[in-house]
């Protein structure tokens, strides 16, 4: 079985102090650490587990600048067999439809059985690329997978719905599945592990290789004409409590007692 995984390099923002660029069109990324999109990490892990259980190969693809190659190196260290980097300055500013189109070009002609990717990326939060790619390739798909099993007509996927409910759906292969966080416990990747795969080749695909013209990709082809970012006012309407540990905990205790109806 050949499994293709799409993974994205994103800035880690959890505890970072973010700053919007002067023109408002993006984030200052210089001080931000890049890493694999959390959902895609679950997808890579799931692909490797499926391969280990059923045989085959795992190819990981990413689209991004030079630095995005780290995501592929990391996936190789986790156990992926092949890696492909869609890298061209012309790709900057591509909307999800263009990203899906580029990935479709990159894998057309490959004899794949399953494509996995994360439900969404933590940076752009679009949750579009996977399904758009499936639609372009004309294959069956399912989003929000919390369990993937081989069986039935091909795959049986548990989809996470709302309010403690899931649905079980059957898909024939080839298929595309977007992976929800928590589907597995991704393995740890050490610096040593990444060093070990230093010798592996990463295939590079540029605009020319994918047979598209510059005006068909990137910002010129985007549905967005203007993008402006801003930071919400920290704290909103919350009353912020500061002070020594004793003061803060004393104040919080009083609030919990009063609001919780404790004596």
């Amino acid at each position: 079985m050949k499994i293709v995984v799409l993974a994205k390099s994103v800035p880690e923002v959890a505890e970072a102090e973010l700053e919007v660029t002067a023109d408002g069109s993006g984030l200052e990324t210089e001080d931000l650490v890049l890493g694999i999109n959390e959902w895609d990490n679950f997808a890579v892990e799931e692909a490797i587990r499926l391969r280990d259980a059923h045989g085959g190969t795992v190819e990981v693809l990413t689209l991004g600048d030079e630095e995005a190659e780290d995501v592929l190196r990391r996936a190789l260290a986790m156990g992926a067999d092949e890696a492909t980097h869609l890298c061209d300055e012309a790709f900057a500013g591509s909307d999800p439809a263009t990203v899906a189109r580029l990935f479709a070009r990159a894998i057309t002609g490959e004899d794949f059985d399953l494509i996995l990717t994360g439900v969404q990326s933590s940076d752009a939060n679009n949750a579009q690329t996977g399904v758009l790619l499936a639609q372009r390739l004309g294959i069956a798909f399912a989003t929000l997978a919390t369990k993937i099993e081989m069986g039935g007509a091909g795959l049986v996927v548990h989809r996470e719905l709302e309010a403690d409910t899931e649905e079980r759906v059957e898909l024939p292969l080839p298929a595309l599945v977007t992976v929800q966080s928590g589907i597995n416990q991704p393995r740890y990747v050490s610096v040593m592990g990444i060093r070990k795969v230093r010798g592996k080749t990463v295939e590079r695909l540029e605009l020319d290789d994918l047979g598209l013209a510059p005006e068909e990709v990137g910002a010129p082809a985007s549905i967005v004409s203007q993008r402006r970012l801003s930071l919400p006012e920290a704290g909103g309407s919350a009353e912020m409590i500061a002070g020594s540990m004793a003061e803060v905990s004393g104040r919080l205790a009083a609030i919990v007692r009063e609001k919780g109806g404790l004596s």
């Binding site: 758009l132 399912a142 928590g182 967005v224 004409s225």
Partner: protein, 316 residues
């Protein structure tokens, strides 16, 4: 091209409340709003929308009983292509996230997901949350005859009732003879010993709790005040607490008297599950964490340092 079209969402024979929010959002933009209800017996599902939407399109077919993108797509593609609404609106739910990109891809229409604001002018302008909810994005779109949008649940007010509703039964012509994807069954998570939605005080832990062993500190605090421990998604994902303790759209919706959020950043899926709490106390290292946007009281700091002190203060 005119008017707005809402795709109603239902599951197991019931309209989902998020549909009313999407109708509300549409009506705040313009009055020409139709709601497409695709179902085996759409009249039964659409009952709740009578009075809160100007126009309902009932599209009945046995293959539309349960959501399946392959059954829905040809029907919707036909409908959208023939009516050419300016906006096609869906909720950003497990169904909307599955269906909207497929519909937009099939018809080659622009799609913007998880919108928290929609403005109509010469161009369509959308607000969304990006970078884990820490940044607000405003997008002005290139002109297009029709645009598909998914709207964040909880971000828009439900439509007010009391309006005249026109009900139009619309024949379903385009049906996929055989879907490759097949729904096998719905699964309800097994109920656990503790029902967090019944608790009056919840001590909820997030990624900031650091590691599995630290959950015990939250349990001790909860025990001291007769509260119950709950969690956000990353904690359940990591297996530190069972899924039954997860607060949020995919888990449980809670409305306790007091909700203490420890090390929870506040993804919208989490906020949607707890913002109805009477009093929200949030403790987080990151002053820009979205949880502070819904909190009544906030502390910027490490919950691991605060937990023992708070337990002492409350036990005393």
């Amino acid at each position: 091209m005119s008017g707005l079209m809402v795709i109603a969402e239902h599951r197991q024979g019931k309209l989902r409340a998020c549909t009313k929010e999407v109708v509300g959002a549409a009506l705040s933009l313009e009055n020409d709003v139709v709601v497409a209800v695709l179902a085996a017996e759409p009249a039964k599902i659409a009952g709740e929308l009578i009075g809160s939407a100007p126009s309902l399109l009932l599209m009945a077919h046995p293959s539309l009983a349960d959501y399946n993108p392959e059954a829905y797509l040809p029907v919707l593609a036909d409908l959208v292509a023939s009516r050419a609404p300016r906006l096609v609106l869906l909720p950003h739910t497990s169904q909307g996230m599955d269906l909207a990109p497929a519909l937009a891809g099939r018809l080659d229409l622009p799609l913007v997901t998880d919108c928290t604001g929609v403005e109509f002018g010469e161009r369509i302008t959308l607000s969304r949350q990006v970078y884990s909810g820490k940044v607000v994005e405003r997008l002005v779109l290139e002109p297009a005859p029709s645009v598909v949008l998914t709207l964040q649940p909880g971000a828009f007010a439900e439509a007010a009732g009391g309006m005249e509703t026109e009900v139009i039964e619309t024949p379903v012509s385009q049906i996929e003879p055989k879907c490759a994807r097949r729904l096998l069954e719905y699964i309800r998570a097994a109920s656990e010993d503790v029902d967090i939605s019944a608790a009056e005080i919840l001590v909820a832990v997030g990624r900031g709790i650091g590691k599995s062993e630290n959950v015990a500190m939250a349990q001790e605090l909860a025990a001291a005040i007769g509260g119950t421990v709950a969690c956000s998604r990353p904690v359940a994902d990591a297996g530190w607490l069972p899924k039954s303790r997860q607060v949020g759209t995919s888990g449980k919706t809670v409305r306790p008297k007091v909700y203490i959020a420890l090390g929870i950043s506040g993804a919208f899926q989490h906020l949607a599950g707890m913002k109805g709490a009477d009093t929200i106390i949030a403790v987080n290292k990151d002053p820009a964490a979205p949880i502070f946007q819904v909190a009544d009281f906030g502390v910027v700091g490490d919950c691991l340092e605060l937990l023992p002190a708070l337990k002492r203060a409350l036990a005393g």
